[in-house]
């Protein structure tokens, strides 16, 4: 990691507790880079995190951080922002934390459009508790609670957030780290509720059950399956199978939503 960014880390807490190859570290790196690019004074920054693997990210940041209760990171962040509106508040949550345990808080935080930036670490699974199915587990994927493959449809998180009223909605993967950094940066710049879905790979609880291979294979999978939303919109229906859009969903460069 660049020396200029080291100051953002509580280096005594490292090595972190995430598994070898876990994408959460890459998201953390992108977040630090985005904060560095924004050149915000650190006393104007507050980071709130929920529970789960992703929630541990706040513990590694040498900033004013708050490790909140499960699913309630956004509610604590709402309190922080209302108590001190001058603060830039970034909220770190996992997919289960944001959309299941804290799903209600997510939609209402988006509806209120308070100036918060939510970064959702989507690893498609409940990693810390042993690989249970989450609301963002892709249909057909195997988890410890769906050993035959999940038959449920996952949430479409960007559209869920947009439908609830978020003014800035974006998605990028850990492989597309530059895009992810830029989206987090612009999400923080956005005045109002911003949601950035960071697609990460969990080699331990998700990749292993789904025979997706090593962390390198996981990153290659992200590279091959995610396409820029503008390109995705231009694809014929049959070519969209197996692809996922990423990039800035809203405010959208295109007036239409993908199907």
């Amino acid at each position: 990691m660049e020396e200029a960014l080291e100051g953002y880390l509580r280096s005594g807490m490292l090595p972190h507790m995430w598994c070898a190859g876990c994408g959460n570290g890459i998201v953390l790196h992108c977040l630090i880079r985005a904060l560095h690019e924004l050149e915000l004074p650190r006393e104007k920054l507050a980071v709130v995190a929920g529970i789960g693997c992703a929630g541990r990210a706040a513990g590694y940041l040498n900033l004013d951080t708050l490790h909140a209760t499960h699913g309630r990171a956004l509610t604590f962040a709402t309190g922080v922002k209302l108590a001190n509106p001058d603060l830039t508040v970034v909220v770190l949550m996992g997919d289960g934390d944001a959309t299941a345990i804290g799903g209600n808080h997510l939609i209402h935080a988006a509806r209120r459009d308070l100036d918060l930036t939510a970064v959702v670490f989507n690893n498609s699974i409940y990693g810390m508790t042993g690989g249970q199915h989450s609301p963002l587990t892709p249909q057909g994927s195997i988890s410890t609670t769906a050993p035959e493959g999940s038959n449920q449809r996952p949430f479409d998180l960007p559209h869920l957030a947009r439908g609830a009223g978020a003014g800035f909605v974006a998605r990028a993967t850990t492989y597309h780290h530059r895009l992810l950094t830029r989206l987090i940066e612009n999400g923080i710049r956005h005045r109002g509720f911003a949601l950035v879905e960071a697609v990460t790979y969990c080699p331990t609880a998700f990749g292993r059950h789904n025979k997706m291979g090593s962390p390198v294979e996981g990153l290659r999978w992200q590279r091959d399956h995610f396409v820029d939303i503008e390109k995705y919109m231009g694809l014929p229906e049959k070519d969209r199978i197996g692809k996922e859009p990423m990039g800035l969903f809203y405010p959208a460069p295109e007036p239409e939503w993908p199907d």
């Binding site: 880390l9 890459i26 560095h36 962390p215």
Partner: protein
Amino acid sequence: MAGRAAPWPAAVCGYTGGGEGPVGGALVRVDEKRCKGCGICVGLCPRRVFVPDERGKVRVGRPEECVACGLCDSLCPDLAITVEPRGKGRKEAPAGAAAV
């Protein structure tokens, strides 16, 4: 790049303090304490600079190949790799950011 490569110090290459060496386009270091040996840098480096280690970690095995693209730094989930391109200015951290 290879022509400019300086001799690789054995003590560092053998990773007694991470892995460090003056190299073609950049100085590449692996923080041994942070590295968990996931193999992302080994698998994705376009110049195959990194080699897996018998201790389950990674070392900078072919430093002279480095072209300072910085992919390993950005994709290292353990925040363990530093790539310092030669002769390029760096952006400083905001005031107070360096205090731990």
